[in-house]
Symmetry: D2
Subunit: 286 residues, 4 copies
């Protein structure tokens, strides 16, 4: 109830560590290619009774121990952390993709972990469905996707089946762009909502969600092949592709150089972001 790796009691910490060892041993035998650390209760209910720093130090120690054991075993499966912002604890330490990346970077663990993004956790953290998938992919940290859906207006994890083709299109675009997820993949929680009580509901829910991702993939492929949106984005940043912009890109420019550039070229022009045009074009694929 008070976390495993972040528990105030070392006895619980040791118990969690022993369980991880067991999971790794079993996973090794089964030739598992991924191992997800979902810190179900790694967080705090109240800052009053919590030493956040000490808890996070212990968490890092536990992860390091798992990395060491994995290397000792000669084991090559992908370690994944699954961010979630809240529920069951008030504040979970793996709040979202970037908070998890901050933790990994601070404790020198970035090379050993990727992220398993569950978009309903992302919306629970206040970001768009696709945000954590997008941002973790851009930093080469997207390892797998738990493809459930939440309700953006509800504050708990509804674990619904994804049925929004616009959203699956955006997700599949990111996955296409990074050439797939292997050894990770798309994973559905194998259940239906409490009110869906027929046996066939389980099949219907999976079929509907798989269809939504299949349509999303086909849309994403068409978008990529036609390249309309990606070329528009590329053009938008083209001033960094050569000349002074390329020097900035290569970090060969100082504040003084920028001042000289402005003294010579004056104020920049206003350039429209054209958000509505992008949205309208996306609608042609969905």
């Amino acid at each position: 109830m008070n976390g495993g790796g972040t528990n105030p009691d070392v006895h619980v910490f040791a118990y969690a560590a022993a369980q991880i060892k067991k999971a790794m041993d079993v996973n090794h035998i089964l030739k598992g290619e991924n191992l997800v650390f979902w810190g179900g209760r790694e967080g705090y209910q109240s800052v009053l009774n919590t030493n956040v720093k000490r808890e996070l130090d212990h968490m890092a120690t536990l992860f390091q121990m798992a990395v060491d054991y994995k290397e000792k075993m000669g084991y090559t499966c992908q370690f994944l952390i699954e961010p979630k912002p809240r529920e069951p604890t008030k504040h979970q330490y793996d709040y979202d993709a970037q908070t998890s990346m901050a933790f990994l970077s601070h404790y020198n663990l970035s090379d050993h972990f990727k992220l398993n993004i569950e978009p309903n956790h992302t919306t629970l953290a206040g970001h768009d469905y696709e945000h954590d998938i997008w941002i973790s992919s851009q930093y080469n940290m997207l390892g797998s996707v738990d493809s459930n859906t939440g309700d953006p207006l509800l504050g708990w994890d509804t674990d619904q089946f994804p049925m929004d083709v616009k959203k699956t299109t955006l997700v599949m675009s990111v996955i296409l762009e990074q050439d797939g997820l292997a050894p990770g993949g798309l994973n559905f929680d194998c259940k239906v909502r409490r009110e869906s009580t027929n046996d066939e509901d389980l099949f219907i829910a999976h079929i509907g969600a798989m269809d939504a991702f299949a349509r999303g993939l086909r849309n994403a492929v068409r978008m990529k092949e036609e390249g309309v949106l990606s070329n528009m984005v590329k053009d938008r940043y083209s001033s960094f592709d050569n000349g002074f912009g390329k020097l900035v890109e290569e970090r060969k420019v100082s504040l003084e150089d920028c001042e000289s550039f402005i003294l010579k070229h004056g104020e920049p022009e206003q350039k429209s972001g054209q958000q509505e045009l992008y949205e309208m074009i996306l609608n042609r694929y969905v």
Copy 2:
């Protein structure tokens, strides 16, 4: 409107850089001890038209340029980043304390910046008023506090004057614990709400808010002197202070060691988090 350091147009980037140089030059002359980077529009309105990675790379380049120029000037003022999650842009890159720390750590800038936390931005990111102050202090990243207050149930930045003595007590506890904020400090936005139109409202608002922090400081001092809560927290983690726990703390333990410990000692006992007791004791100081 589309950011400075993260603008898609290098011309705007250069303009932002030239302005930063000017601000640094003026700050140097005025012997300023702090310089806050508030990335007012460094974020995105839509992922569709945005290359997040390229924008963040540019932002890091701009910060590095500022660090280089500062060193060249022989200037010692504290650089600060002020996190804010949203508004005016849909998603601001400096979302909260840990997202900003992830950015600084990834781009090797952590040694050159601290954070200027504005608690109304923290609540806007979905965390408790004191959360970002607490967590940034624990990682030695708390440099200053913009001491406004938001409304936890509203989704925009109301910039109210802090009047909640429980909250100011928690903030002052953190500041006491890290031996002050210097060269940073507590800063109020010098204005009142649109509906408070008397000249005297400005004075009343400042006096009321200063009183709230003064009461908070006195409460925090009493709490620290009596040490009841801090001793309870210390005891809660005491199993890590010696024996097997101390070995964990010193990272001298492996997964196999933990397994052996559990095989020998069995399942851990359940230990109450006693949240309500902590809350009740806090109430005696407020």
Copy 3:
């Protein structure tokens, strides 16, 4: 800044009333068919300085005065109230459809007003985009639609152009079901976002949004013609269509009758809500 009809100062109240009279006079000359009351600042910033009851009594008085003047003029335009939960005030009195309906019902004004629903205000109140349209239509209170869109994860009114065809399909289904909106209609706020600065952005945004509603209308017509979903809903409630259910529907049954029914028929069976099936079928039309 402190409201018109709900202002603590009767002088402001009178000014608001005089402005409403002028708007009605002009609207009459122009043969306007609708008049929207958007209580832009009718709400409170703090309960501490507010007499909520007195303010709402005054608001009702003002509406009654407008109704009286309309009747005196022999004027037949539709009066509409536009709910909004917050922003610019912390709490707006016309919070959402049902809060507005509570107000109208309590003050005997229901026969003289309908609602002008803006779905971005609905999401700001924590309900689904289509919720207020759906519920006000079911009580014959839907008069018009301000067809902007918000961002469900942001806490302020983004007034975006609607581009989500699933949502426009649901809205057009409700409008089809109630045989149109006349004399009301679909109304876009005639502007684009701050970052869309080209003249053509205005056209693109309107075209994209009109297309989204046109696709939504075509989907809704197909859904209605094929009748799959509506028949499923009808079947779901069919136990109320005859026998004991019909008696309940006609309010001819007492608690004792229900007790007898259960003593005779025993516990009810579990029946699946089949939410995923409904969602999957909807996806075939979008």
Copy 4:
């Protein structure tokens, strides 16, 4: 799982009705003075499979049946409805105080029910802790208080013990103002949080919360006796106490009268709302 009074199956409806009869019979024998209807699952998970109007009609029928049976029994206990916006269902019909009042008013049930407000449900609906207590009291609809507390930044019902003396002061002020709650009262959910596992936690939690209300009551009494804030509020609305304002209050004024008033007296003056002053004065009592 799909509600009682709003269930699509009349068999379940009858079962719910029979259970209500039984509860009323038992309550009568035990001389219960209150009966709370908490519509735990009266709401919808998806509008797609739901006939909202038909469900609410049935709910009203069920309440009317309970009213009829109560009259037949010669039973005088207070019926109470407990609003809650969401969880366990996505949208609960008794969303908040005003939505419940809209329902009662529409179906002519207002004379037979009062509200049992649970402030953690209020914050879950996006309103301040004290909002529903305040607004239902002003319309003479506040019957009882479930005195739990939520977390304004979490989206589910945390059912914490109230420890915020500022909030209990505001609640007790409303209760003082309406001369008490009888036959209702303050009711705590008799449990502690999952992580508080000592037997004594149950006592500590209740004592701490009772203390918070006791301090709140003493503060509210002092506030009422000194009358500073209430006099400031009274003065703020004093322009409605005589002259033209009194005529408005008595509904003896038309739009034309207001126009004449403005033509004679011109534009109103700007008057400060002085929110910060009110907040600062409140702080002197807390």
